[in-house]
Symmetry: C2
Subunit: 121 residues, 2 copies
DNA sequence: CAATCAGGTTACCATCTGGTAAGCATTCAC
DNA sequence: GTGAATGCTTACCAGATGGTAACCTGATTG
């Protein structure tokens, strides 16, 4: 019997530019990782402390995905113990541009609202 | 016995501007809704056809949330049957600015990759 | 009165997400 | 050889997400 996949049609427009690019930024910690790479390469452990609360599992998962999507570049160095540096590709740098607009708005939100607001429904 | 909430600490920095603004854009269909309101008010049913595949439930949920967050404005008109128009607030317009950068990148992705790429891990 | 339209709401449930905890491989210093 | 550091991987599972289907209210039209 064929297993019916029920939740498989959320995004009907498969080539929508908005959706296509937003997917690069989707998932917990994804924008944070890109943002923390904006000034140059970082190592795995550096990112772990840059992003307090991220688990090694998530970090690995996100870094792999971002590498596969062409957003970041993974370069292991033959030090000992071996270290791995992650840096942005040109595409990654473009995303930093988008994120900086987002960060700008975030700053202004902080000033105007100041009191936290609930974002959950 | 106190019920332990296990998944409650993803974002330790509660006032991070990046996170704060990205939350406004989070959730399925959220960027799409904001994007389709960029040229002026739309009605509930118009949005439903703008976004093929969205369910009435999701649309209601998102519109309510975006209204509560100050991104959109809901204005029911006393026509018959009554219609409801949704439009962007100044904050919503700022988000359109961010999204247009995203859309730009999406366009360039389409041109360079052309073949679809998988965004799932 | 029944049907229709606008704009929802609700119940139910499959799937996805991301957390914790543990383990693993390599290399070097003691 | 034992332990620490670096960079992962795996199993397990709670809770969040978002889909479908059905229902609702109030006004208008026939």
């Amino acid at each position: 019997m064929i297993k019916r996949r029920k939740n498989s049609v959320p995004p009907p427009p498969p080539d929508c530019p908005l959706r296509k690019c937003m997917e690069l930024l989707s998932g917990a910690w994804t924008p944070d990782i890109i943002w923390y790479l904006r000034d140059g390469e970082r190592r795995f452990n550096e990112l772990q402390t840059d992003l307090p609360g991220v688990s090694a599992k998530m970090l690995t998962t996100r870094l792999k995905r971002l590498e596969r999507l062409g957003v970041i570049l993974r370069s292991p160095k033959p030090t000992s113990p071996p270290t791995v540096w992650y840096g942005l590709t040109p595409l990654g740098l473009e995303l930093v541009g988008a994120l900086s607009v987002v960060v700008d708005i975030g700053h202004r939100l902080k000033q105007s609202h100041e009191g936290s607001f609930e974002t959950r429904l």
